[in-house]
């Protein structure tokens, strides 16, 4: 009698986790993630105050120097190099004789250009092309962007690729 009762109790506690619902959920998440996985060489680092303008172009960028300009700061390869006052460069940051020339940006880009040229010497396959990707906030005026492009050009970066958000 006791053994029968014991067997009955064991049967009663035997339960099985139903994984079907969980697999369903994971399948949906997996599809979403696969669709939105980036295969691009260049990643967009989230920067405060950066909203890229939308463009119909679908060309993906190649690896190049990243230059990010917002109304508040200027970054070269994810490193903040100077502050900007609501899209306006301070007079101390620009050259007295040439208002389009931004000294701190030029110095930083020159460093990068020299580094790239040194790499090219040791490995001729990695040629310095002067290519860079400009990621500027959509609300910035051309006066700000023009100064950045102009200074970059003088530092040897003349091949501008303008970053935009794909539609």
């Amino acid at each position: 009698m006791r053994s029968v009762l014991k067997r009955y109790r064991v049967r009663e506690v035997h339960t099985e986790l139903n994984l079907t619902a969980m697999v369903d959920m994971f399948t949906i998440i997996l599809v979403f993630l696969v669709m939105s996985t980036s295969t691009s060489n260049v990643q967009v680092a989230p920067v405060d105050g950066l909203t890229l303008p939308a463009s119909t172009i679908s060309k993906e960028p190649d690896e190049a120097l990243k230059l990010v300009v917002t109304a508040k700061a200027l970054y070269v390869d994810d490193e903040k190099i100077m502050d900007i006052n609501e899209g306006v460069f301070d007079k101390s940051q620009t050259d007295a004789k040439d208002k389009n020339f931004i000294r701190p940006l030029y110095d930083e880009l020159e460093k990068h250009a020299k580094k790239a040229e040194e790499i090219q010497k040791s490995n001729p396959e990695l040629k310095f092309t002067g290519q860079y990707i400009l990621q500027a906030d959509q609300s910035l005026n051309y006066s700000t962007i023009k100064k950045v492009i102009y200074t970059s050009m003088l530092a040897g970066y003349a091949d501008l690729k303008m970053g935009a958000a794909g539609k």
Binding site: E60, P61, Y142, L160, K161
Partner: protein
């Protein structure tokens, strides 16, 4: 009769089985963190806009046989002007008024199509934005100039090397900033 039903029920019960979902779940649990790390919520695309070096520009201009030069001026009051300069230096222009406080992108696009139809060998347009023009507006104008839309057909030109007719949707994919070097 009763026995037959019992046998049939027994067979049906025998043919059902539970799929072991644990390995599938294991794969998913491994894949999801990996995909989460590589997810891109914003897709970056690029618009080519090479800026010619002053000297290189002069050399290139000497080398290049530019039959027609197109200069698109974007003004602060959201009007625009397209200058068409032929080889002899003759200049004609098309003016665009603003629309709802911004550039009339549709009219600019249509006029650029007309210009492209007249000069199919030209692929370059220089843009001259004034200082108050927003980056967003420049990109929008560049989008309009770059290529024709699906329903607008293609442009045919003769390839100089192969002498073959080539069709393309591209209008002015080579867009440069003309006033970066100016003071």
């Amino acid at each position: 009769m009763g026995r037959r039903r019992l046998v049939l029920k027994q067979r049906i019960e025998d043919s059902t089985f539970d799929l072991n979902l644990a390995p599938m779940l294991d794969i998913m649990v491994s894949l999801i963190p990996m995909l989460l790390l590589s997810i891109a919520f914003a897709k970056l695309v690029v618009l080519d806009a090479p800026v010619p070096q002053p000297v290189a520009n002069a050399i290139e201009n000497d080398k290049k046989e530019r039959t027609v030069m197109l200069q698109l001026h974007l003004f602060n009051n959201r009007t625009a002007k397209l200058d068409i300069i032929d080889k002899g230096g003759r200049r004609s222009n098309i003016s665009f008024s603003s629309k709802e406080g911004t550039y009339d992108l549709e009219t600019i696009h249509q006029k650029l199509i007309d210009v492209k139809k007249m000069h199919t060998q030209v692929f370059t347009v220089e843009i001259f934005p004034e200082e108050g023009v927003a980056y967003k507006e420049i990109v929008a104008v560049m989008d309009e100039a770059r290529s024709a839309r699906k329903e607008e057909g293609e442009f045919q030109f003769i390839d100089k090397e192969s002498k073959q007719a080539v069709k393309t949707k591209a209008m002015f994919p080579n867009i440069t900033f003309g006033n970066v070097i100016e003071g």
